[in-house]
Amino acid sequence: MTPRYMALMARGIAAIASAVILTSSTPSIAASEEKQLVVTGASTIAPVLGEIAKRYESLHPDVRIDVQTGGSARGIKDARTGLADIGMVSRALKEDEKDLTSFLIALDGVALIVHADNPIAELTRQQIIDIYVGKINNWSELGGADEPIVVINKAEGRSTLELFLEHFGLKSPDIQADIIAGDNEQDIKAVAGNPFSIGYVSIGNAEYDIKAGVPIRMLPLEGVPATRETVAAERFPLRRPLNLVVSKQPEGLVLDFINYARSAEVRDIVESFYYVVPPGS
């Protein structure tokens, strides 16, 4: 009996070991009869596209979609070289990238949020910059209460931080924050818990929480109110498109998957990530 148990044990250990090793490297094994689609690029899009891919796979059992992150730059590069069938790019294509074709799947808008009791109606671009670099430290300098401003920033690598820094022309080390939040939800809870704080979050997420009664308020930016509608209409300034890009005119499986990712069938997935569904899809 003993050798049998030993063999079983050894097999178990081997299975666990290979599982650990597999998850630490990129899986790239596919059966030959399966149709495979490789999608690489922006880490903002990867989670939502991963969910869309899962649903697509359940509808088409012979298709396997491999979604890998690596940033928008990798999405562009892999789509050009053909390493990936589709690239994910979380910004508009630049002039020298016009050889690629882009398909908009969602829009992401980021708004500054304050506590619902905060009397500040709007902040100018310069005021926002001054608050985040620590030049303005008290709400009284902006016409509010004589209380220190609690500045909430996002953790390094978060896409909302990148968008914020890019829009306001800031660098990560310049920012003087009092609290660093990991995700939107943590940011919103911190603002709701402190009447003198300021943060920035995805508009979809903030709208959802405001409806649920969380005491926060989104500030308009450059005169445009922060709503999903102004993001969808591409009027709200602090926003970006989430694009799928391909190097040649898509056909077959690639075209079918892109159409599916832009269809009403995945609307609930896009909204569950608090992104805005573009009009007309």
Binding site: G12, I16, G157, G193
Partner: protein, 295 residues
């Protein structure tokens, strides 16, 4: 006949148990080995490209802007753990003495069950409580609220039941002869406890504290929710801090390349801390045992 029967019943059973135990021990050992190996392998790119020195000499921690200083995170981790232990140890020792020697049996049982329940509460609940109750309270004292103090208080609550339960167990496992001897010498209850029982139980008490330290160093979710997570050596207990574990949890989801690798260096430093803690436990308990024997 009977000896055959005995062999048939006990021998296979024994070897089955033997196999299971060996197997389980091997799996546990292999897994830990693999984890350390994977962390080390993932940390290598940062260690070789950035170099060990820059992890303490860079301007700050801004991995996407090529700054990798881990020193504020190390200080933050140690401050939170030390602060929490300084609060939790005396309180849990007092609670352990209470349930073991002072409380009536019925209350002691209820109290112990309550502490066991407390020890099993998921850390995210402590974090949520800290975020919605404690942080706003501290913010009224001195903004921003999310601070070293909030982290210390939350971690104190989390390690307290663990330390208390282990301390109570080690107090009650002191040989009954010690109690009898103290009684025979006419010691009061207080002197029996503080002069006889606690010194006799010190290795178990030290173990309780060190296990608490391990949990305090590793605690992630709750600390991340209340500490503010700003990478800076705090000037006061009202300043925000970031711990090594919170650093990983905050940034790993969207980290790439060197940034990702640097987070594994962060994990490596934590593993080193835990090794030091376990080693300290080994040293403390063997030294205490040696002294107890010498006494």
């Amino acid at each position: 006949m009977s000896s055959h029967l005995a062999l048939r019943v006990t021998n296979p059973g024994f070897s089955l148990a033997n196999c299971i135990l060996w197997g389980a021990a091997t799996i546990a050992g292999t897994l830990i080995g693999l984890i350390v190996f994977v962390v080390l392998a993932a940390a290598m790119p940062a260690l070789s490209n950035v170099g060990l020195e820059r992890f303490v000499t860079d301007a700050s921690w801004h991995p996407t802007s090529d700054q990798f200083n881990l020193a504020p995170l190390i200080v933050g981790t140690l401050l939170v753990a030390a602060g929490a232990l300084a609060l939790a140890c005396p309180i849990s020792l007092a609670a352990a003495v209470f349930v073991t020697f002072y409380a009536p049996p019925s209350i002691a049982t209820v109290y112990r069950r309550l502490m066991e329940l407390f020890a099993g509460v998921p850390s995210v609940l402590f974090g949520l409580w800290g975020l919605v109750v404690l942080v706003p309270l501290i913010a009224k004292l001195s903004p921003p609220g999310a601070s070293l103090l909030a982290a210390i208080l939350v971690v104190t609550l989390m390690v307290l039941p663990t330390i208390m339960l282990i301390a109570a167990t080690s107090l009650s496992s002191v040989p009954i002869e010690h109690l009898h001897g103290a009684r025979a010498l006419g010691f009061s209850r207080a002197s029996t406890i503080f002069k006889v029982i606690i010194p006799a139980a010190r290795s178990g008490l030290a173990a309780a504290a060190v296990l608490g330290a391990g949990r305090a160093i590793g605690e992630t979710m709750a600390v991340m929710m209340v500490a503010g997570n700003v990478v800076k050596i705090p000037d006061s207990i009202y300043d925000p801090v970031r711990t090594l574990s919170a650093n990983i949890a905050l940034e790993i989801a969207y980290a790439m390349d060197l940034h990702r690798s640097a987070l594994f260096v962060s994990a490596l430093v934590m593993i080193a801390f835990v090794v030091v803690v376990v080693w300290a436990l080994e040293l403390l308990t063997s030294k205490a045992a040696f002294q107890a024997n010498a006494d």
